[in-house]
Symmetry: C2
Subunit: 462 residues, 2 copies
């Protein structure tokens, strides 16, 4: 056997790879939003903070704050490579070249700098991580911070396993991934994308998963939200915008009337910025039902909608009905689900929106390609173009894979959210009463402005 | 990333490792039997042939006879290394040093040579592989031939898979192996050995499996029948003798009376040879029931019994009853099952022989350590010392692991059996009517001598 002495010595002295290998290792929509912010809000400040919703996991006990600092400091030293900027300039995104303006790319090259951060640990064992500064300097932190915390927690759990246990951990995760691919493979008309960067097990695992999807699902695999993986593996970069934008615009509004109008004002600015491309609505920031009801007619011309906090069966049907009321053909539109998806729901939603279920079949009856090829169960007859944005349960499904039996690799519910814009508190209501974000008195005020129609889990007033 | 240029070039020009890496890569009992043959039958000739009982698999279509020749020719060039002979001389086997005589080891060093072979393909797509010559030159072929054919068939199937599919194949097999280890781990009093050399998936996989067992099962893992793995990994080498010996002695007998006596004559010779060690009966060659009934009293002094073709629950109970009739304490004896075992049967047999089942529990209720620790189900109260010799379903359980979905990695039922001794046909009846081996007229003759008592599947004469 030939031994690579240099590699052995390196492995012996190893430091693990940095978690963020490139500034492209972020969701593509963050780059689209950054250009939008750079263009329209270059002097606006914005702060973000990391929140661990899985409060039963004491993150600060698992992750050494010193190691997290190292990772965050390392991210701050990164610059966009020339080759990456050339790719952003020359590559085709959503069928169009030149999505990024030369002046923006020049700014990325010369002036982009991640803000500083504040990291402390709290008395209940959590990490408190905040970013403040210019919005253009804080917005990209979201994904770098989430993926760093998620992977450091993975690394801490990996350290407790023996070599055999590590091998079994990944064997189980790969076997599970293959079962998922096997169920999706060959399903006619299916569209799936990777949306799993922020809560991934690790960078290398996400890369493995994305390559496996690309190898097995053929045209059903639409791409990845991870810009770096899209760049490295010639895949489509997927994603358009997030709640951060309507939250900021609403926070900057001076009156309730302006606040209500902000959710549509954003859309106007966005379509100007992107010349009528990348038009995916994200209507749940302050409640989908009020959003659709109050929308100007031109909003129905947008290409599609992403549902993120409402039951996607309900959200899709609501969107279809609204499009019909507005005189648009839903079959020309795109409906994207992106909240906590896994195979069962992806197949069920695909059946629900892409075909006519026969003989009393229900979405739950669709378990694999065979069910979609069974003409007794289903006729392809698209009601709307459906696409699944598959996140955490694609890139971090290690449930019951740990040979030591504990939940050390179960995914955490980590988020990194906008707190303030120019000193004003940011609020998200969402389609789920319990998922609202912001100071309680501000949430109350926003509820007064936007109402509770169509919000799940809202208290019933008798 | 540091690249090992030499390794890359080597991998590019690769030839796969030889399947038989060392003459020690054989079952330990073959070496014990070789010494026995060398001592008592140095001038006896014996022929062996390989039989594929899985006739639906056309081996000659899967395996290139040229590649098989290369492997067999390579095995013929192998010699015992000095270090291996020193280990055979100096190591302790079954608690005793010096099991192998200096003169035998000298003969292994200077004069041992595998016989020539004849390889042809048959019209029904099978390989016909025969070995003839001195018994001392043919006997070791059994394991080298079986493991070579088994691994070449594996390699042929591996060639059809993509890199991802290969990764998934092994991920699934490892995940399954772990489930098996997990069920056995912590079961009080359990004894399990690897008996899987002959029909293994590959050498490297057997090595992986044996190391995993050794790492996870602690004292419950008793060792491996593979001498090379025992040597390389400081494990116990397990095994004593096989059907080949009583078959040969019976074939050499001149009268039916001598033939009946041969099965006990062998035991006398064996205990002389090994000075009263390694005394494990293998009573099923011509039927266990007649063997036990006709055995001289001193046979009951042997340490234990291995059951290979009778339902092991029945065989163990029969042995216990027989020992009691002969006035021996079964709790001092060892009962080894070695026929087609997998986890369910290992746990069931362990419960049956090592404890008292309570409250209507059955062997099938014992699924993992928890069941053995449940005092409502079981009280440890050994009826006999039970040990499991785990073969094909330990080292070659790739059923449903192939990502391409076909049975290309399912284990084959390959055997390599003694045909003739000094020109006389060899016969095995076994405890199963349908598992007899030999020319039909000879089988008939043997049945006349040994009877059919206790033989499963025998035709009922009305």
């Amino acid at each position: 056997m030939i031994i690579n002495l240099a590699r052995r010595a390196h492995n012996h002295n190893w430091e693990l790879d940095p978690i963020t290998r490139s500034l492209l290792d972020t969701d593509f929509y963050k780059l689209l939003m950054l250009q939008f912010i750079w263009k329209h809000f270059p002097a606006t400040s914005a702060s973000f903070s990391l929140i661990n919703r899985s409060t039963e996991v004491r993150l600060a006990d698992l992750i050494d704050p010193g190691e997290l600092r190292e990772q965050l400091d390392n991210a701050r030293t990164l610059r966009f490579h020339k080759s990456e900027l050339i790719w952003l300039a020359g590559n085709t995104f959503y069928g169009r070249q030149g999505i990024f303006e030369p002046a923006f790319l020049q700014w990325l090259d010369r002036d982009f700098q991640l803000s500083e951060y504040e990291l402390t640990t709290t008395r209940d064992g959590q990490l408190s991580l905040r970013f403040h500064g210019l919005w253009t300097a804080t917005t990209l932190w979201e994904i770098y911070a989430l993926s760093a915390v998620s992977e450091l927690r993975t690394r801490a759990a990996l350290k407790r396993l023996s070599e055999l246990e590590l091998d079994i951990l990944y064997a189980r995760a790969k076997a599970r991934l293959w079962e998922k691919m096997d169920r999706l493979r060959g399903v006619p008309g299916l569209r799936v994308s990777d949306f799993g960067t922020r809560r991934r097990h690790s960078f290398l695992w996400q890369e493995y998963v994305v390559k496996a999807m690309s190898d097995t699902l053929g045209a059903s695999f639409r791409g990845t939200s991870n810009t770096y993986l899209a760049y490295q593996h010639d895949l489509e970069a997927i994603g358009t915008n997030a709640h951060e934008l309507p939250m900021a615009l609403a926070a900057l509004a001076s009156t309730d009337e302006q606040r209500r109008a902000a959710q549509y004002r954003l859309l106007e600015l966005w379509q100007q910025t992107y010349h009528g491309e990348l038009l995916i609505l994200l209507p749940d920031t302050f409640g989908t039902t009020q959003f659709l009801r109050g929308a100007p007619d031109w909003v129905a011309d947008w290409t599609g909608q992403r549902a993120d906090s409402k039951d996607p069966y309900v959200a899709g049907d609501e969107y279809i009905t609204w499009l019909q009321q507005r005189g648009r053909d839903p079959r020309q539109k795109l409906f994207i689900a992106s909240d906590s998806l896994d195979v069962d729901q992806i197949l069920g939603l695909h059946a629900w929106f892409s075909g006519r279920l026969l003989n009393g079949a229900t979405p739950a009856d669709f378990r694999s390609a065979a069910d979609f090829l069974d003409t007794q169960k289903w006729l392809p007859e698209p009601r709307i173009r459906f696409s699944a944005g598959w996140g955490t349960l694609l890139t971090n499904d290690f449930r019951n894979c740990n040979p030591q039996g504990d939940g050390g690799f179960n995914p955490l519910s980590l988020v990194c959210k906008l707190n303030e814009v120019d000193g004003r508190p940011a609020v998200k209501l969402s389609d789920n009463f319990n998922k609202s974000l912001g100071p309680p008195e501000e949430i109350e005020r926003y509820r007064g402005v936007f109402g509770l129609e169509g919000i799940a889990g809202a208290p019933v007033i008798t």
